[in-house]
């Protein structure tokens, strides 16, 4: 062992001095790569750019129905990435992200049915719905984490919350269940809300499922993905992973672990809320079953199959599983669910880190350093 008392051997590395002089923006951009996310270097980013380019060109070579359908897949990715943060990075397996999805979905409906789509209000409604999803998650997170609930009990509490919400919404069929103009409509769900609408001089652009919505969602997915990469590689993300690994030790290093867990959960709730509000806007429709048991289980399958501990694996895995699921649904939705269950079992047993994450690691090893 070296003698410890060499206090000022700290010759700064060149890269570090440059780091010091960089602006806050440059620091955040540098966090697009880091210890908490796979993928780094020119090959990775060139591949990523090609994927995005292909996604941009896709509508030119496809039909409007398929494009609208792809938009539908992208709607779900926010909830999946949020679950990735909560479960994969922070270590709390939430079984109830659909509670925040549903709350925000209904909120978008209630707000837009009452206040319409003029003056860009649908976007304000979207923002409010996302905030509600996040705040509700923060409240649930507060009671769970400050109440020292952990492990499997997080799953039980969150599942209970989403099932209670489903049950509650299912019994709102009567005409007395209305918020302003908006009838909640019980089991049949709420419909008739306006899609996202971009105010435009002359004629507003209404984003029905199709090419316009596809591009808006593509931009949102890319921004959200890059934003999460930066956040997860920031000190905040390091602490989340430390909490997943050893919460007592993280606390004993001076971190308010409960606050971090609560904030991570709130972020997961806000992202689930974004999916929920976008889903409602996409289909102009939301039902209580979006918060039911099957709906609650699916995000866990997407995230586990792709790989919960890496945001890229989560995103790609979710899109892949959604595509597979929909292709299978042609043969019957019960059948598709059984295949989903088998896929989950297969993943958990054979590649516990997730199929995509394992594949990415293999690619990284094979093509040396291009991907981690």
């Amino acid at each position: 062992m070296d003698r410890p008392d060499t206090p000022h051997t700290d010759e700064p590395l060149v890269a570090e001095t440059q780091m010091e002089r960089r602006s806050a923006l440059a620091i955040w951009i540098s966090r697009l790569e880091g210890p908490q996310t796979m993928g780094r270097g020119p090959v990775f980013w060139a591949t990523a750019a090609l994927v995005v380019l292909a996604a941009i060109l896709y509508p030119l070579f496809s039909n409007p129905f398929a494009v609208g359908n792809s938009a539908y897949f992208m709607v779900w990715t926010f909830m999946a990435m949020g679950l990735g943060v909560v479960w994969g990075y922070t270590g709390a397996l939430s079984f109830g992200q659909t509670a925040f999805f549903g709350l925000a979905g209904y909120a978008y409906g209630v707000l837009t049915i009452n206040f319409g789509a003029a003056y860009g209000f649908t976007w304000i409604a979207l923002a409010i719905s996302v905030a509600l999803g996040g705040l509700f998650a923060m409240l649930i997170g507060y009671f769970m984490f400050y109440g020292r609930i952990k492990g499997v009990f997080v799953g039980i509490v969150t599942l209970s919350v989403t099932l209670v919400l489903e049950t509650f919404m299912a019994q709102t069929a009567g005409p007395q269940w209305r918020i302003g103009e908006a009838r909640l409509n019980g089991f049949n769900g709420m419909s008739g809300m306006p899609p996202l609408t971009i105010p435009w001089p002359g004629d507003a652009i209404v984003l029905y499922p199709g090419v316009g919505l596809y591009y808006v969602l593509l931009a949102m997915v890319v921004l959200c993905y890059l934003g999460l990469r930066m956040l997860l590689n920031a000190p905040f993300g390091n602490v989340l992973v430390a909490i997943r690994e050893n919460p007592e030790r993280a606390e004993m290093l001076g971190y308010d672990t409960r606050a971090y867990q609560m904030l991570s959960f709130a972020l997961g709730g806000a992202l689930a809320g974004l999916s929920g509000a976008l889903y409602t806007a996409w289909g102009q429709y939301i039902t209580p079953s979006s918060m039911g048991l099957t709906a609650a289980a699916l995000p866990i399958v997407w995230v586990a199959v792709g790989g919960r501990r890496d945001i890229t694996a989560t995103l790609l895995g979710t899109l892949a599983v959604l595509f597979a699921f929909q292709s299978l649904t042609v043969y019957g939705s019960q059948y598709a669910l059984i295949v989903m269950g088998a896929l989950l079992l297969f993943t958990v047993l054979l590649t516990p880190d997730g199929l995509i994450a394992t594949a990415m690691r293999w690619l990284g090893r094979t093509f040396g350093g291009a991907k981690r």
């Binding site: 062992m1 003698r3 051997t9 700290d10 210890p35 690994e245 050893n246 004993m252 001076g254 971190y255």
Partner: protein, 239 residues
């Protein structure tokens, strides 16, 4: 001398077992103090009480004059306490560098953070393992990593639970030198230790804990000559 830590009438029971029995304990700023006692005496539990991982049944803990008895663990740490646990408390899936980043990043940033990490990596002799997951290190290296995490923040009070367990005599001696060095820089140290040679090397004052009670206290010479202390160590743990 000013008191950095003063514990009074501290009591804690686990079920029927008393693990802290009316502990009155004072630690003076700038000292190196050892806590010894047979297995199960309650040494680690005493640390966990100081750190707030367990709440005492009664009693108070003052740190630098302020009552911290009801504070949460992270708040106590932020006031200047750091700890190395008996069982290495590291983040096994994270690399050595990430472990150190997490340990220091809440009060160091940018260049200061990376230079501190670099320095700690050097003195813990983990240069070749910077990118290795901590779980893949040898037990001794994990021990060093955790010591590095605890000392790198330059705390006011450093708590070490069996810092030399599993170390070679050479490493033990170097740990002792490192602790002297930290102490010179003004860090107060309280260490749980079984190795009496090591205790002799580092400590000015020694406290003996037995069945959760302060059994004896004094200089190392006084403790070694204390007939009762010899008895509890030699005669097993039957009182």
């Amino acid at each position: 001398m000013t008191e950095i830590l003063s514990v009074s009438k501290l009591n804690k029971k686990f079920g029927g077992v008393t693990v802290a029995n009316d502990i009155d304990f004072t630690l003076h700023a700038g000292t190196m103090h050892c806590l010894i006692g047979p297995n199960g005496a309650g040494k680690s539990t005493f640390f966990r009480l100081i750190l707030g991982e367990h709440a005492p049944d009664s009693g108070t803990i003052l740190f630098r004059g302020a009552d911290i008895t009801r504070l949460r663990s992270f708040e106590r740490i932020r006031r200047g306490i750091s700890v190395k646990f008996q069982v290495p408390g590291i983040f096994k899936a994270l690399s050595v560098r990430q472990n150190l980043d997490v340990a220091f990043q809440h009060h160091l940033h940018g260049h200061n953070l990376s230079s501190t990490v670099k320095r700690v990596v050097e003195f813990t002799n983990l240069e070749a393992e910077v990118e290795t997951p901590a779980g893949a290190l040898s037990h001794g290296q994990q021990q060093w990593l955790e010591i590095g995490m605890a000392v790198g923040v330059e705390p006011t009070l450093l708590l070490l639970d069996e810092p030399t367990a599993g170390m070679s005599p050479d490493e033990t001696r170097k740990t002792g030198e490192m602790l002297h060095d930290l102490n010179q820089r003004g860090i107060t140290i309280l260490a749980v230790e079984h190795d009496m040679a090591f205790v002799e090397q580092i400590a000015t004052q020694v406290t003996v804990l037995h069945f959760g009670r302060i059994f004896a206290e004094g200089t190392i010479a006084e403790i070694i000559d204390h007939p009762g202390v010899q008895e509890i160590y030699l005669g097993g743990s039957d009182e």
